[in-house]
Symmetry: C2
């Protein structure tokens, strides 16, 4: 049976959870999937880096106390030399789960590029590399015969990208509408129930949904990146971030939401794109008062959903978790499974 | 480019629409899908049968007035000799869209069996053959190296079977809950809005959602078959129809629905199955008062949805049309596309 050697770039919640899945369920997964997984490298901002070609002792890695100990305690280095590790470690697949800024997609974009340049397939949960450098990185992967997968960049492990790419063949996809941010959706739900905007945001922070600085979620920046990814990947658009109009929910009040409720409507932060008659694609993020029988009106709390507008089926919707450690770790696993499938197909075509 | 010769068994709404898609969009579809489709046989209870190995003139077939004219006018026969046509016509693929009874799945089940026995792949939109003879027919197809696809048996062209089979790899599927009948869902919606049960059913009949005899929809027989298909196909159960508990919506009243609405709940007819700790599968159909934040509570009107309970992602839901001529014709097209994909994979593995 094939075993893929993987490198975990970033050892926070997501990649740590992936490592836990491999440690606790690896044998069961191997039986089910037909391949094994072995972690041969880990880098992390706080823990440093560790490369062991024979396979890392994950139990020892889990025991380290970040901020106090480093991989130096396991024979590695206190320095997270991402570029060196990515370029030189003996991994087949790089699992990239660090962070990204919304301006140039760094450092995640460089992690992906280094992987592809050094002959390694890569999966990432970061939106930045895909939204801002998707075409360039996909072309680099194609040229080098490598995999580049990123299901987790939109709605964590809920397979929305693969749904649209694989399960709607022969249909014309004319656009989509989505609820793509759990924090803002949670805040709107609590405001409907009577809380003020500030109270709702504070509660979302207490529950761990919202960051200390909630701007990216509340003002639609997070959704803007996801809309850009979906529009370019699924509608074949060639948009940049500036092409995606953006408006957040901070101007909405409890009064506005109650008035809508009285009229059988519910405010949601909707990310959408549509193909225009001239073939161009328009995309944006804005609050909308949806009628209760709209497919997205019932998506509540931290759930997310995307409704795809098709010619023969009308709207078809996938909903599920939009975030979460385990859910996002599964996105990486599903990416590896997809790469395994593609590799086997190439092998049989050769 | 490969061209598949197809036979249409039944020339009512669904297969007629498939023929219209082929007639009007065939070239566009060929470009997109990499194969062509040619109709070489049609049978229909009222129109009789027509076999033309060089391809049927579909425009002439569309012009026939069922009940007045027959295929005899085009050089065929006034008799719909389904067994003879299915066994001897030169089709690669049989598209079965006749009807089925819920007791033994006939006549659709025989149509499928004759196709597979005579070396032809088959796709069907009928629940009966899959629910009542699924394992036997799948085994017959496997043994003869043929395709047997039936996405349209549940939720028309909305890809719920393929979603669960293809897009949740590595997850444990522990059960599902679904709204699987548009008529009963429409009736419940109208009762919530104040109509009586009888008024709601009458309106559904006037709008073409409900049959003259609405029993199958209202009393849960239709959902029972769909739950049986999903449980056996997706949970690996080996249930028979009698194993699926069934209760319809005819005992619900406007008063019961309004009381639930006052408590933030909404009655839905829910088909569900779950894997028990001992590995067995329990399945049933029954009305349930769902809280408004339940993923299925917002599925309104004639829409359908299935929520899959997974270990790592929690519930993941697909919603879309549950019926319709075009939507069901697309199910057949998606089945043919799937068979083309499988054939190419076998060819490259050889």
């Amino acid at each position: 049976m094939t075993t893929y050697d993987i490198a975990l770039i970033g050892f926070g919640g997501v990649n740590r959870t992936l490592a836990e899945l491999i440690a606790t369920r690896g044998d069961e997964l191997s039986l089910k999937l037909g391949f094994g997984l072995r972690v041969v490298a880990i880098t992390d901002l706080r823990l440093g880096s560790l490369v062991q070609a024979g396979g890392i002792d994950l139990a020892a890695a889990f025991r380290l106390d970040p901020g106090v100990e480093t991989f130096a305690a396991c024979g590695g280095s206190a320095e997270p030399d991402n570029e060196h590790v990515i370029r030189t470690c003996p991994a087949d697949i790089i699992c990239e789960a660090t962070f990204t800024n919304p301006t140039d997609g760094e450092p995640a974009a460089s992690h992906v590029r280094w992987a592809l340049e050094s002959g390694k397939s890569v999966c990432t949960t970061n939106k930045g590399p895909v939204a801002l450098h998707g075409a360039e990185l996909a072309e680099l992967a194609r040229r080098n015969g490598l995999g580049f997968e990123f299901e987790g960049a939109v709605m964590s492990g809920t397979p929305v990208l693969r749904f649209a790419k694989q399960l709607l063949p022969g249909l014309a996809l004319n656009g989509f509408e989505g609820i793509l941010n759990g924090t803002s959706n949670y805040v709107l739900g609590r405001m409907e129930e009577g809380l003020s905007f500030d109270e709702s945001v504070r509660e979302a922070q207490q529950r761990g949904y919202a960051e200390a600085d909630p701007t990216a979620d509340i003002e639609g920046y997070d959704v803007q990146l996801k809309v850009l990814i979906l529009a370019n990947e699924l509608l074949g658009a060639d948009l940049t971030l500036a092409d995606v109009q953006r408006q957040g929910i901070s101007a909405l009040t409890h009064q506005v939401l109650s008035r809508a409720a009285g009229q059988g409507r519910r405010w949601k932060l909707v990310g959408s794109a549509r193909r225009n008659p001239d073939g161009t694609v328009s995309a944006g993020v804005a609050p909308a008062a949806l009628p209760l029988d709209h497919g997205l009106a019932g998506v509540s709390g931290a759930n997310n959903a995307v409704s795809f507008n098709t010619d023969l089926l009308g709207p078809v919707t996938v909903s599920g978790p939009g975030a979460g450690r385990v859910e996002t770790a599964y996105a990486l696993l599903s990416d590896i499974i997809a790469m395994h499938g593609a590799r086997n197909q190439v092998a049989t075509n050769a």
